[in-house]
Amino acid sequence: MSAPAPTASSFGLASCHGCSALTPAVGHSTCDRCGAAIHLRKPDSLNRTLALVVTAALLYVPANVFPIMTVQKLGRGDPHTILGGVQALVEGGMWSLAILVFFASVLVPMLKLVVLAGLCISVARRSDARQRDRTTLYRLTEVVGRWSMIDIFMISILVALVKLGVVATIAPGPGATFFAAVVIITIFAADSFDPRLIWDTEEDSP
């Protein structure tokens, strides 16, 4: 491994979260330029991320157990859970749509939780394995995670659009709320994670 590059913190400097200006990181200092709080690392990052991941994981259960929406056609209607909806799409032969919904609504939130939990654990254990890969994984998670909201948006639009009384009505189920919560909390969790912690093993702990 090549000699470690000098870091800002080794010079007693920290990058501002807001404008990226290097500011001396002393106590609870603020950025000289934009006035934002200056931290060497996101404060309490591991704890926050882990707590949010746990929360999201807990909410992930009711999000999948409760029906996400109820589609009523001519008085006949059954509530669908997320997986039930996927199943209905598969039975309907709409494989592509089924795969899309399955990825966006089932796989992505779950992987996100797993990835974030894994990152937190690896950071806490000061693992130095595959740091670059882990960083890539984190970035991917952060980018893809928000696409899970597509399901919630779809439900919102459908509920608003399909109000045809007896002919067809779509009503959101309690699962939708939980699912939205899961997605939002995982977004926060990803945001509160500081990927620099992955690399902190190379120097003395800050």
């Binding site: 001396p24 704890n47 746990v54 929360t55 807990l58 259960v61 009711p62």
Partner: protein, 635 residues
């Protein structure tokens, strides 16, 4: 930048977080929320039951609902075949509150679209799919396994309905759902029927809605009103059917005979006889009210079943049935008298045959002896009770049926209370032949009585002044004696020298002067009769019973006789000819006005010769003259 570098960067303050970060409150809150919802879900989860079906048609797991009063209280979650493949077992989840109602008495049934003649039900299931209905009933042994019925239990839709069972020899077109009607109002339904153990009768299970349950008394009568009952009688064509639905789907009618009024309604499970027809039920009903007597006739006279029974031409009952007596000598008519009229029948009442046509067909009118046209066609029985009525007739009393009524029977008008309390009544002057003031009775003797018969008129100048009462052979059988009665006011017209002749038929005389036809009025020509004339020099008034000879035809001179006879008790100054009849006078005037025009015709000469017709004097009947003129023209 340099000024910053002047500041010696201080070592970052390193704060190790001790204890648990506040951020962990977030998952704790999530746990509470999730746990709360999970607990709520779990605690709301009702009991799971097992339902057994014959087949699973229309059932879908997770979709088929269980409803009570159209509120979903559960859903079928799983459907599987039983191990022996004979039935379908479904698991269903019910709401939490359902637990106390899952007892051995609770029944489940499948609601499917059902179209029958008595209605369409379950139509909503065409769209919403099959669902299960439940009739929860608390208070039985708890149960978790249920057999699902194919059809709704009858009491389901009608809580508090009273179940009854009816025994019938045949059920006709009665089917499940057929209505029970009371005076046309639907009061219940047939549930099902089955052959009884003896293999001869059917048992029909029916129920009566709660609000009509009070109608069902121990003596309530039920009869099968299925189909159409058409009876063609003298009273017209009668078509009986309860309703169009009943006509097609069958139905049961019920009625309460009078004795039922005071009875307590029956409870569940009461047994009744289902009569095959209204008639049959009516007979049973009659047995329980009114009076039933037997009338014995030696000669059958076409009295039909259902024929009316009259009392003074008022229908008071009818003939129930008739049969030969056991020794085949008499015909026994079962006569039913309506309850109200039962007191009219006394031990000394006389029954007589009122059937057939008992009218004298004469041109002077129809003398109807029958009650109504119906009795002519159907036959009928009349009865009369003497002025001093005897004991009230017992139920089942026997009477003889007389072929004809004695005239005096018809005059009987006993006073018998048949109402609840005496009512104000107008005193009637009863028109009875026997009470009529008697006129002058005379006897006419003829060699032949061929065309004169009882009831024929006795005329004086074409005016009816009396009637023939009867005719008989004289004691020595040489002549016929005809008894006539002249009405009192005309009695003085008959004198010792009065001549009587027979006006019956047409007397034609063919002579040299042509065909001479002499006849009285058209009526007397066809109906026959006796006419008389009194000479101008009239004899003395006669006593009743005086004998006169009856001439076969009048002498010509008799026609010219026109004696003045004072008949009334009033002033003698009144003109005689006017006293006879106004009508006659008018005819006379008409004849006068017509005559001059016809004078040119030769036939009139005969007429004139026969009747010189002095002004103001009587002329022979215009009609007689008309005939003469008619035939005179023909010549």
């Amino acid at each position: 930048m340099t000024h910053r570098n002047d500041r010696k960067p201080e070592a970052a303050e390193l704060r190790k977080s001790r204890g648990i970060s506040l951020v962990w409150l977030v998952p704790v809150v999530a746990v509470f929320i999730g746990g709360g919802i999970a607990w709520e879900t779990l605690s709301n989860q009702g009991p799971t039951i097992e339902l057994h079906f014959e087949d699973a048609s229309g059932l879908e797991p997770g979709k088929t609902r269980i409803k009570y009063r159209d509120v979903a209280i559960g859903v079928i979650t799983e459907i599987a075949l039983s191990d022996d493949l004979t039935s379908v077992i479904a698991q269903a989840e019910l709401v939490k509150d359902a637990s106390p109602y899952l007892t051995a008495r609770t029944r489940f049934w499948k609601v499917t679209p059902h179209v029958s003649l008595s209605g369409i039900s379950g139509l909503e299931t065409l769209v919403s799919g099959v669902y299960l209905n439940v009739l929860p009933e608390a208070g039985g042994d708890p149960q978790r396994v249920f057999e699902v019925l194919d059809e709704a239990p009858t009491t389901a839709a009608h809580r508090g309905a009273v179940a009854i069972s009816l025994h019938a020899k045949s059920v006709g077109s009665l089917g499940p759902g057929a209505p029970l009607t009371y005076n046309g109002v639907r009061v219940g339904e047939v549930e099902k029927h089955r052959l009884m153990h003896d293999g001869k009768r059917f048992e029909v299970d029916a129920f009566v809605y709660r609000r009509f349950a009070h109608l069902i008394k121990p003596s309530t009568l039920f009869w099968n009103a299925s189909g159409l009952s058409v009876s063609l009688g003298a009273e017209g064509l009668e078509i009986q059917t309860a309703s169009l639905g009943t006509l097609l789907a069958g139905g049961i009618e019920l009625a309460n005979p009078k004795p039922a009024a005071g009875q307590e309604p029956v409870g569940k499970g009461a047994r009744f006889v289902l009569h095959a027809s209204h008639d049959e039920a009516r007979k049973v009903m009659e047995r329980s009210e009114g009076l039933n007597v037997t009338v014995e006739a030696l000669v059958g006279s076409g009295i039909a079943e259902g024929a009316p029974v009259y009392y003074r031409k008022q229908k008071v009952g009818h003939v129930g049935s008739h049969r030969l007596s056991d020794d085949a000598v008499a015909i026994l008519y079962q006569v039913h008298i309506e309850a109200r009229y039962a007191p009219l029948v006394r031990s000394d009442s006389r029954f007589f045959d009122a059937s057939g046509v008992k009218l004298h067909v004469g041109l002077d009118g129809l003398d109807l002896d029958t009650g109504s046209l119906a009795s002519i066609l159907e036959g009928g029985i009349s009865f009369a009770t003497p002025e001093r009525p005897g004991e009230r007739a017992e139920d089942g009393a026997r009477f003889a049926l007389h072929h004809d009524a004695e005239p005096e029977w018809l005059a009987w008008t006993p006073r018998i209370w048949i109402g609840d309390r005496p009512e104000q009544r107008i005193d009637h002057v009863v028109d009875v032949p026997t009470t009529r003031p008697r006129g002058l009775a005379i006897v006419l003797e003829a060699f032949s009585g061929a065309s004169v018969k009882a009831g024929d008129p006795v005329t004086y100048r074409e005016l009816e002044v009396g009637t023939i009462v009867e005719r008989e052979l004289s004691k020595d059988a040489r002549t016929v004696r005809i008894h006539a009665e002249i009405e009192p006011e005309y009695a003085r017209l008959v004198r010792s020298n009065t001549r009587f002749w027979n006006t019956s038929g047409i007397h034609a005389h063919l002579g040299l002067s042509g065909l001479e036809i002499d006849t009285g009025s058209l009526q007397s020509m066809l109906a026959g009769g006796v006419a008389f004339a009194t000479p101008d020099e009239k004899g003395t008034p006669v006593r009743p019973g005086t004998l006169f000879p009856l001439h076969p035809k009048p002498e010509k001179e008799w026609m010219h006789w026109s004696p003045a006879v004072w008949m009334g008790p009033g002033e003698p100054s009144r003109p005689v000819e006017h006293a006879i009849s106004d009508e006659h006078r008018i005819r006379h005037v008409e004849a006068e006005s017509v005559e001059p025009e016809l004078e040119v015709v030769p036939a009139v000469a005969i007429d004139a010769e026969v009747a010189p017709a002095p002004v103001g004097a009587e002329v022979p009947a215009p009609r007689a003259g008309f005939f003469r003129r008619l035939f005179g023209f023909a010549r």
